[in-house]
Amino acid sequence: MDSSLIFYLLSALSVVSALFVVFSRSPIYSVLSLIVCFFSIAGHYVMLNAQFLAIIHIIVYAGAIMVLMLFTVMLLNLNKTTEPHKTNMTKIAAVISGGLLMLTLLASIRAEKLAAYQSPAPSELGYVQHVGLKLFQDFLLPFEISSILFVSAMIAAVVLAKKEKH
């Protein structure tokens, strides 16, 4: 299959599912379409030779985060009927300003020249050993610090979600 065809399909999928996240009435549907969106982005990663990241992406986002989201939606018993809605006025304003942002972003991207293309990236660029070497040599300290971040996030989550005793 043509790589551009795959790109088309994946892009269309991600944009459509993203739109669905925003405009879906039921929170459940939003979550589910976000998962679809994340899978399509993982596909993009594979196409860009970032195989390791693609795997991580699926594990972290689709596997962990979205499951957490889903649980929360169910825990809080959110559904179409409880869903709050904004007035039409604000909705239109939201769409217009979002579109405006997109246009200015695109315009500013066009205004900036891209740097010259380097020699074609080797397909094994995104392999575990490459990323791993980079991570454990140049970015060792941030890597270790991120573990502290996780611990604190974990504790925070537990403390916050715990029922308060009165």
């Binding site: 825990l75 997109m102 293309y117 990236a121």
Partner: protein
């Protein structure tokens, strides 16, 4: 169907376009919805749009640094979601809603 991805520049441009669109959809979502959980999801979407851009640039410039960056963004996102969802649960418990228009106690 013509091959859009003939040259690296063209590829890059398309990825730029894609991630801009995804990012903007995320922004519209944040503005559009009142449900804090959906807003959190839209923020995730925006993060992913940026991630995609980083990975594409990493591929374009042949430098793995971009991917490492994405890795760290994921780390932060995971932590953020954990805390964010916990906050939401606790807010829901005390107020009974996660409608952001109700959560306006922090004003002048």
């Amino acid at each position: 169907m013509t091959n859009l991805l003939q040259t690296p520049e063209a590829t890059q441009n398309w990825y730029l376009l894609l991630s801009t669109v995804l990012f903007s959809i995320g922004v519209i979502g944040v503005l559009f919805r009142r449900n804090a959980l959906i807003i959190l999801m839209c923020v995730e979407l925006m993060l992913n749009a940026v991630n995609l851009l980083l990975v594409s640039i990493s591929a374009y410039s042949g430098n793995v640094d971009g991917q490492v960056f994405v890795f760290f963004i994921m780390v932060v996102a995971a932590a953020e979601v954990a805390v964010g969802l916990a906050l939401m649960v606790s807010i829901y418990r005390s107020i009974g809603s996660i409608d952001i228009n109700v959560l306006n106690k922090l004003k002048w």
